[in-house]
């Protein structure tokens, strides 16, 4: 798999710390989604996703993030993306998702 995901329950800050490494595309976006859902099923809290080592993402991965954001927003929760590489930030800007996720 060209992607790995690490999820850590950050009790001190009361949020899920995700780190996504590698590439997210149509072949593994579903796995990404299941990891987010599993974390939220375990504990409903905000999510922070570190994109420092995310080299590639496209509409399938962005769709997972924004879909999850739409779900948890109803419960007053949010997702924040941190440390995106320039190419990832460009896609977030084009899609307009930067306004809610960065």
């Amino acid at each position: 798999m060209a992607m790995s995901i690490n999820a850590n329950n950050n009790a001190a800050e009361g949020l899920w710390d995700f780190k996504v490494v590698g590439e997210v595309d149509i072949s593994n976006a579903h796995y990404f989604k299941t990891q987010l859902e599993a974390a939220l099923a375990e504990k409903q809290q905000n999510i922070r996703i570190d994109l420092e080592d995310l080299n590639y993402i496209d509409s399938t991965g962005l769709g997972v993030i924004i879909g999850c954001y739409g779900q948890i927003k109803k419960d007053g929760l949010t997702i924040k993306l941190v440390n995106p590489k320039p190419n990832v930030k460009k896609l977030l800007t084009i899609s307009g998702f930067d306004k809610v996720l960065l």
């Binding site: 595309d25 149509i26 496209d58 769709g63 896609l91 899609s95």
Partner: protein, 138 residues
């Protein structure tokens, strides 16, 4: 005459990355800079993803053709799958929350210099996109 590289790709999710890697190699050989190569990688992945998602219930092979011109890289992605109604495509509003729903096509149009998309229900989908080398010098 332009150099032409043709690929026949199984319409499965796991092969989109192979096309993306090929596109990066071809674009690099053309002299595109890193930012432009990233644009091309995303655009072609979106086109392939579109075909994998809309090709039909069974994976359908599709063709990817790279044409390396003097100052332009043309990439055509074409299948004979189920196609979809292009007229019914609604361009998403940036920032509006959605999952899927035309975001891929929107991204292709934003990243490439020229984009031609034709699709017909029952006949397949044709996406031709071009990136010009000169665009980076402007």
């Amino acid at each position: 005459m332009a150099d032409v590289l043709k690929l026949t790709v199984p319409g499965k999710a796991e092969y989109v990355r192979a096309v993306r890697m090929t596109a990066a190699t071809v674009a690099s050989g053309c002299g595109f800079d890193i930012d432009q190569i990233e644009d091309i990688k995303v655009a072609i992945s979106e086109a392939c993803t579109n075909i994998v998602l809309h090709g039909g219930p069974e994976p359908v092979d599709y063709e990817v053709v790279f044409e390396v011109g003097e100052d332009t890289l043309s990439i055509t992605v074409e299948d004979r799958g189920e196609g979809y109604d292009v007229e019914g495509y609604v361009e998403p509003v940036p920032g509006e929350i959605q999952e899927g729903g035309g975001l891929g096509i929107f991204i292709i149009r934003a990243l490439m210099d020229e984009v031609d998309i034709r699709s017909e229900v029952g006949a397949g989908t044709f996406i031709c996109m071009k990136k010009r080398l000169l665009a980076q010098a402007v």
